[in-house]
Structure formats: structure tokens, C-alpha cells
Symmetry: C2
Subunit: 214 residues, 2 copies
DNA sequence: CGGTAAACAGACCGGCTGGACGGTTTGTAG
DNA sequence: CTACAAACCGTCCAGCCGGTCTGTTTACCG
């Protein structure tokens, strides 16, 4: 752009280089987290995977905590975006509650959630990381709640208060087992069951509410 | 026993010393796991907490993996025993399903379960530990299922198939959040809700079953 | 252009972790 | 009471992890 390409190097601008290196480092951090766990995600591995030098990483993230913190934000940003997009793509004619539940289950099942799991468990014994996660996870939770209220307004009623938390807990628990042992055979069965239970509870004639669907 | 107590030392037998040291090491391993997480549970910390020397630990557990493996068995043994005892103490006159659920929730909330969590997550990226856990956790799961079938036979019916897994997943997910952030305020609310949902689903007049209670 | 600062590179070091290993104490059998 | 084995002790060492630091390249501004 600013000068003729005298060499094979594309001659990127500073902002481009900066952005590229940072993103590579953050993505590499998450990949290592998923692949090797929190303890196994050493700075050397991350730098190597990101094709960045020790100095480069240090230039942007002076400490490992800073790197991981930034990666957390990066991760939740991606999860929120994907979740948001998936929710808005739910077919309006189909059983929306069912579709929404499956979509949520899918986001909990994707590999990126393994990184969330690693970070949560690591945060249990790391105050600094915990505070970082508390804030970021609260934001994500609020997004989920907003979307849920928007798509399934009846879930916001007090009779169903705690239902969203219960669903998240269940999906989180299912994800834990599947991540460790790769057991997915019971997953659909369990999903069908809780779906059935929710519909029975909140659609029953004698119940306080008519329908969980929006 | 074999000789007069010439000194203040109780003069323990070999088997006693052996048992004592091993138990101290295993308990210390679990305590460190709960307190510092898997990565933070170093052999030095464990030895120090167990008041055992490096050599003593090495004598019984040649490697850290051996120590952790033994600790896993020790842990699940304890959990199973406590769980078993708690289940058998459920008052037969009270609402047994409700009591059983609360009891199960309690076992998931106790600190020992934090060690389970650490081990599960560590096992995700450690094949050796994973195999060790798979077997042990399958045994525990089977115990829970047996007790559940024994106390609440209606849960074993096919209409409720997967309910036990769903409950375990939910409690596990709730425990995760509470261990990291210490949030317990929503816990009772969620418990009430799923209890209500289960009763509504399986006690409803139009339902296939009458009562979840035994 | 030329100079400055940002982006990047890699050698170096302190600290820690876990294992090996020779030596010491304690229990028990003959 | 003595000899052997099990239980136990603590130092040493190789390897790794993460951070500091000095040097080099690249982009941008005047």
C-alpha cells in the first residue's frame, strides 16, 4: 500500500500486525487450554502454536495471568456471538422452545466449552482468575437471560423462576461427563426427558401457566 | 504388646504404621486437591500435610500418578459409604423422594466433591487418570442406581429413564458454580423447582405413573 | 530520507517440581 | 539378642516453567 512490494512480504500496517499477533496468541491460548488443560497450557506451547516469540507475547501480555484473562474475554465474546446468532436463527414456525433448548445444548457441547470448564476449575483456586471470570461469566449469563426472556417470555414468570439456572446447570453437568468420557449416548435421552418435564409442568391444564412457548 | 513400654512411644506394630502412613498420605492428597487444585497439589505439599517424608511417600507410592490413583479409590470409597449411609437413614414416613433428593444434593455439595471435580477435569487431558476414573466412577454410579431403584422403584420405569442421569447432571452443574463462586442462594430455588417438575410430571393424573415415591 | 517508537526475537536465570538414591531407624523372626 | 527386612529419612539432581533483559527489525511521522 504505502510502498511497492519490493519483497515477498505483504508489508502490513502496524495495526494489522498488532491485531494479527494478538488474535493468534489468544486463539492459541484457547486451543492449548482445550488440548492440554490449564496446567498443560504453558506459555512456551502457546507461543509456539501462535508462531510468536517469547518477546512478542510479553510485549502484549506481560504475564500469563494477563494472557489468560484476555483469552477468557475473547472466548466469551465468541460464545456469546455464536449463541446470539443461533438463537436468532430459530425457525419461527417450529416448536421454538424445543429448538432453543437444543441450540443451547449444542453451545454447551462444543469444544470451546471445554476451555470454559478448565478456566472455571482453575478459577476455583486462583482468586485473580476467579474475579476475572465472575465478571465475564455474569455478562454472558445476562445475555442468555435476555435472549431467553425475549424468545420465551413465559419463562420469565415467577412460577418458572430458576428454570433457566436449572437448565444451564443440567447442560453443564452433561457436558462435564461427555468431555471427560465422551459419553453422548444418554445425552439425547436426558434432553428429551427434561423437555418433556418442562412441557408437562408448564403446559398442564391445572398449572398456573399455559405454554412455555413464546 | 510384645514388649513393655520402655519409652513414651506407643510402640505400634508394622501393620499399624503402614496403615496410618498410607491413610495420612491419601487424606492429605485429597485435602491438597480440594485446597490447591490438581496442579497445585504437589508431592511436597502432600508429604508436608501428611507429616510424611519424601522417602516414606515414595516407599508406598513410587510416582505421583500412583498416589493420585490410590487417592481416587480412597475418595470414592468414602463418598460411596457416606452416600450409602445417608440413603439408608431416610425416614420412611417422610416424603421419601424429597428427602432422597436433598440428601443426594448434599453429597454433591460437600467439599469432597471439589476433589472429584478437579480429578475429572484433570482426567480430560490425562489418559491414565481417565481410565482410572472411568472404572471407579462407574462403580459409584452403579451404587447410586441400585439404591435409587431400591428406594424409588418407580424411577426405574422406562418413562423415567434418564431421570437419574438428569438429576446427577443438574446437581453436578449446580455444584460447579457453587464451588467456583460460592453462589448458593439460587440452589434451593432450583432444587424446589426440579422437585416440583418431577412430581408434576410423574404424579399427574393423566401421566403414565402414579407416584414417584416408593 | 532519518529518527523514533513500536513490534518482535531469543539467550539467560531463579524457582520449583518430582525422582533417584544412599543412609538410618524400627519391627520381627529365629 | 542378633540379623534381616520393612519403614522411613533427606539430600542431590535433571527438567521445565515463566519472567527479565538486551538486541534487532519494522512501521510511521516530520
Amino acid at each position: 500500500m504505502t510502498s511497492p512490494a519490493t519483497s515477498t512480504v505483504p508489508r502490513r500496517t502496524q495495526a494489522e500486525r498488532r491485531e494479527s499477533t494478538q488474535t493468534r496468541l489468544l486463539d492459541a491460548t484457547l486451543a492449548c487450554l482445550i488440548e492440554s488443560g490449564y496446567a498443560g497450557a504453558t506459555t512456551a506451547k502457546i507461543e509456539s502454536r501462535a508462531s510468536a516469540s517469547r518477546g512478542a507475547r510479553l510485549h502484549y501480555f506481560p504475564t500469563k495471568a494477563a494472557l489468560v484473562s484476555a483469552a477468557v474475554a475473547h472466548l466469551f465474546e465468541g460464545i456469546a456471538a455464536r449463541y446470539d446468532r443461533a438463537m436468532s436463527e430459530v425457525a419461527p414456525d417450529a416448536n421454538r422452545f424445543r429448538a432453543g433448548l437444543r441450540l443451547l445444548a449444542d453451545t454447551f457441547a462444543e469444544p470451546a466449552h471445554a476451555a470454559v470448564l478448565e478456566l472455571f476449575v482453575a478459577a476455583r483456586t486462583d482468586p485473580e482468575l476467579r474475579e476475572q471470570l465472575r465478571e465475564t461469566s455474569a455478562r454472558l449469563h445476562q445475555l442468555v437471560r435476555m435472549r431467553a426472556n425475549e424468545y420465551f417470555p413465559n419463562l420469565a414468570r415467577r412460577e418458572a423462576s430458576g428454570l433457566l439456572e436449572a437448565i444451564q446447570a443440567t447442560l453443564s453437568g452433561l457436558a462435564l461427563r461427555s468431555f471427560v468420557f465422551g459419553e453422548t449416548k444418554n445425552q439425547d435421552q436426558v434432553l428429551d426427558l427434561i423437555e418433556h418435564m418442562i412441557e408437562t409442568t408448564f403446559d398442564a391444564p391445572g398449572s398456573t401457566r399455559r405454554n412455555v412457548d413464546g
